[in-house]
């Protein structure tokens, strides 16, 4: 990713956090990247090492001072209520999607195991012909493949759960903003 693309993407994501001074952060990273390039670093490698945009935003958000700022600057009680609702809905959405994804991935994993088990049972219980044996071996291999896919997805979900959370929060805010705009019209 080059500097322009990175900054554009960062700006696009920061737009969803009203309390963050987007331009200041853009300036900060713009200067940082240009300084790195001037010092002879590879632009795209440097940007890659900055981490994902989600993790950059997470770093800014998790800073306590920032959160304190948001709390004190929310003098409008209506904003507070809506802010609270967005938060609650975001969290429900987050845990719900985590739950659904876990179930879906777990069932993929289990169906893989099921296929292996079924083929195994046929092998043992039935008198199978050579032709059938090849079909059953195929089934077992497919079962292993499916189970591995399910396992990988399951393992991955907890690695990426921070991005999922940010994504859901962003989407909920987006929906609320659109709703607010419609009400204002």
């Amino acid at each position: 990713m080059n500097r322009k693309t990175f900054l554009n993407e960062l700006r696009k994501e920061l737009k969803f956090y009203k309390k963050i001074n987007t331009e200041e952060i853009i300036y900060y990273y713009d200067e940082m990247i240009q300084d790195a390039v001037d010092e002879g670093q590879d632009e795209s490698l440097f940007i890659k090492n900055l981490g994902s945009i989600d993790s950059i935003i997470a770093n800014i958000i998790k800073d306590e001072d920032f959160i304190k700022d948001v709390k004190t600057s929310n003098k409008n009680s209506l904003t507070n209520i809506i802010g609270g609702t967005v938060k609650v809905i975001s969290w429900i959405g987050y845990y719900f999607s985590l739950f659904v994804l876990t179930i879906v991935y777990a069932s993929i994993f289990l169906s893989g195991l099921g296929l292996i088990f079924q083929a195994g049972v046929y092998f043992i219980v039935d008198e199978v012909t050579t032709m059938d044996q090849w079909v059953l071996i195929g089934m077992i291999l497919m079962g292993i493949g499916i189970a591995m896919i399910g396992y990988a997805l399951l393992a991955n979900i907890y690695k990426t759960n921070n991005s999922i959370r940010l994504f859901i929060i962003r989407k909920t805010k987006q929906i609320y903003r659109k709703k607010g705009e419609r009400n204002n019209e």
Partner: protein, 100 residues
């Protein structure tokens, strides 16, 4: 290490990095990286915090026909660093007591 403790120490590290000369984001990361691992995204909230606590002043200069933001330690910042050294003496005494 305790997060709060580390956070406080990182603030001091950044202050110390501009103790003798004004510096800018990239250089601060490079300087501190020689001692501990600090990422660009960790530095941003620290600089912001120091600025808000009025421990540093900032100014912009033109470099290579672009703007670069410099951070300069002020009287409050220097006072804070001095205070931290006294704190460390106290912490050290506590440490020696714990360790004995």
């Amino acid at each position: 290490m305790d997060i709060q403790l580390k956070k406080g120490l990182l603030d001091l590290m950044v202050l110390a990095s501009i103790k003798y000369e004004d510096s800018y984001g990239y250089k601060i990361v490079q300087d501190i990286s020689q001692i501990l691992d600090i990422s660009e995204s960790t530095l941003y909230p620290i600089l912001k915090r120091l600025e808000k606590q009025k421990l540093v002043n900032t100014y912009n200069t033109t470099y290579n026909s672009r703007i670069r933001k410099y951070y300069q330690i002020n009287k409050n910042g220097l006072e804070k660093l001095k205070q931290s050294i006294d704190d460390f003496d106290e912490i050290n005494r506590m440490y020696m007591y714990i360790k004995r």
